[in-house]
Amino acid sequence: MKREGEASLPPVFDESGVEIKPSYTPDDVDRSGGSDRIGQPGSFPFTRSIHEQMYRKRPWTMRQYAGFGTPDETNARFRHLIQNGQTGLNVPFDLPTQVGIDSDDPMAEGEVGRVGMAVDTLEDFETAFKGIDLDQITVSLTINGAAVTLIAMYLALAEKRGYDVARLRGTAQNDILKEFI
């Protein structure tokens, strides 16, 4: 319906070419097969979100991409973020770590500790996560080609500190081709 004096706006389409209406009513639900077909939040076919309570139950994780050249500096930053309410960590790595070479490799010259943290040994990881309660946070490792190694390091660190690995939560970027194409 057009109100008196209201200019008509051009139609809006989504990327698939389906027109998006300015607003929707129960009639539109019926035309899509009714509420049975659309389902309830948290159940098949998940039209109305993947969790029943979604963000009412648990807000999304705030994970600021944050880290510095050395594990010590990174640890200080992590602690600061957690103290200020962050519940997840997003760990950046330097390029030698990202492509899977050591800091003393000739090709690493000039790149060590730039754009992220240098990790050569498990000890580096232990330093970065010192004093951080691993089952209270979720961790995102922004690592691709070397994802398997870095996830193994994270798990080894957790085991060494006595955590049940099954209780850890997190993810890795894990795009194996990212550094190569």
């Binding site: 390029l95 030698p96 070479i101 090709m107 690493a108 010259e109 000039g110 790149e111």
Partner: protein, 132 residues
């Protein structure tokens, strides 16, 4: 009858950074300008770049750097160019290069720095002026 020799350009990405859209765009722009362009690809060592420059007998060497490792890498490459008799090669560097580092790079032998945002035509014009 003599045909004019094409200006020969070698482009490379030293260091470990994998972002090379910039290098590829430069390669395309220089090719369109009529230059003979070779792009070496990602993660080339200073030694590999100098060796290829000698093999191709280049007029211009262009490096693309985005990871902030430009100073140590150019510091390594500069003397290798001189040792290989490539002093006269026009050496250009582009990418994420802070203004404060431009003079240092020039001191290392770089002829011109093209930080992010410089028009493609300015790179073409500079090469034409220096190599002609």
């Amino acid at each position: 009858m003599m045909t004019e020799k094409k200006i020969r350009v070698l482009l490379a990405k030293p260091g470990l950074d994998g972002h090379d859209v910039g290098a590829k765009i430069i390669a395309r722009a220089l090719t369109d300008a009529g230059f003979d362009v070779t792009y070496m690809g990602l993660r080339k060592s200073a030694e590999q770049i100098v060796r290829r420059s000698v093999e191709l007998n280049v007029d211009v060497l262009g490096l693309s750097l985005l990871s902030r490792s430009h100073l140590p890498l150019c510091r390594r490459l500069g003397p290798l160019l001189v040792d290989s008799g490539l002093d006269s090669v026009v050496w250009i560097v582009g990418g994420v290069i802070p203004e404060e580092d431009v003079d240092t790079l020039k001191g290392l032998g770089v002829d011109r720095v093209f930080p992010v945002g410089k028009p493609l035509e300015s790179v073409v014009a500079f090469i034409r002026e220096k190599v002609a």
